[in-house]
């Protein structure tokens, strides 16, 4: 394998891995919010929320 091949493998796995972890984390977070009925980032704040 050439140097460029190692660079592609290095960047591909690291950046791809971080992206994949972020996506999986978002899915786990959504599933957990659905399970406990917690508000999401997109939900507007409740009017009766304490200031």
């Amino acid at each position: 394998m050439t140097d460029v091949g190692f660079v592609i493998a290095g960047y591909g796995v690291i950046l791809g891995g971080i992206g994949l972890y972020a996506l999986l984390l978002a899915r786990r977070l959504r599933a957990a919010r659905d399970a406990v009925g917690a508000p999401t980032d997109a939900d507007p704040p409740a009017n009766d929320a304490p200031a």
Binding site: M1, D3, V13, L29
Partner: protein, 247 residues
């Protein structure tokens, strides 16, 4: 909403730093294109240290205050740290083969202590699965997180304390802060990648902390429903039918 903005900022920063490291900064005279891997390798290594530092500090905080939110921070640090340690090792291997001629060498103290660091924190995450009691789990994890954190300075200073294949610090040594042993263009590209990865790290840490809080909430709900179900299934107490004991 702020976390979402942080996530987008991190994405833009990582793309910009990667384009800079891959296409803008020239290749190293001796190492060729393989040197470009250093930008992601070193950034991953620093954030692995930072993650486990967060785990250790949050663990101390839990032991002092017994607040489960601190345990959630410790868990977030450990999981994100395991990921960055694995990427540090992967980046090092991808750089080591073209430059050193080998992917790995067990005799090298930096490599071996980093592998040990990864094993310690995978153990930390596995240990957390041994009990359902949140406070018992948090206390055990805090102690193990503190013991494992001893390996962080050993990994960092191993290149100074012992001889091995791994080179010494390029900018991490205080004496090299103003006079780094790499061209300024390379140092700036590295700092840009460290900055971009730090934004990503902060975003992932916050998201993992939020997930840990929700998981704990779900565990509590499940525990309460188990208690309620057990009480309903139990036979009713024999109030009124029990004869008074003879005096």
């Amino acid at each position: 909403m702020k976390t979402r903005i942080l996530g987008w900022a991190a994405l833009v920063a990582v793309v910009a730093a990667a384009v800079n490291g891959l296409f803008v900064v020239p290749a190293d005279l001796n190492q060729g294109d393989a040197q470009r891997i250093m930008y992601v390798h070193v950034a991953s290594a620093w954030l692995a240290y930072a993650s486990f530092g967060v785990t250790a500090l949050a663990g101390i905080g839990y032991l002092v205050r017994r607040d489960l939110r601190l345990d959630a921070i410790a868990l977030a640090g450990a999981e994100v740290g395991v990921m960055f340690t694995a990427f540090t090792i992967w980046g090092g291997m991808m750089w080591g083969k073209p430059v050193w001629g080998v992917f790995w060498q067990w005799e090298d103290p930096r490599l071996t202590t980093t592998a040990l660091l990864l094993a310690l924190y995978i153990g930390y995450l596995l240990l957390r699965r041994l009990t359902d009691d949140p406070h018992r789990r948090a206390a055990r994890a805090a102690v193990v997180g503190l013991i494992a954190a001893v390996d962080i300075p050993i990994v960092h200073f191993s290149v100074l304390w012992w001889r091995g294949l791994h080179q010494g610090p390029t900018i991490g040594d205080p004496s090299k802060l103003l006079h780094p042993s790499a061209p300024l263009l390379f140092v700036l590209a590295l700092l840009a990648m460290v900055g971009a990865f730090t934004l990503t790290w902060a975003y992932l840490l916050i998201r993992r902390y939020q997930l840990a809080r929700l998981e704990w909430q779900r565990e509590e709900e499940a525990r309460l429903s188990r208690i309620v179900a057990a009480r309903r299934a139990a036979p009713p107490p024999l109030v009124g039918n029990v004869e008074e004991p003879a005096r």
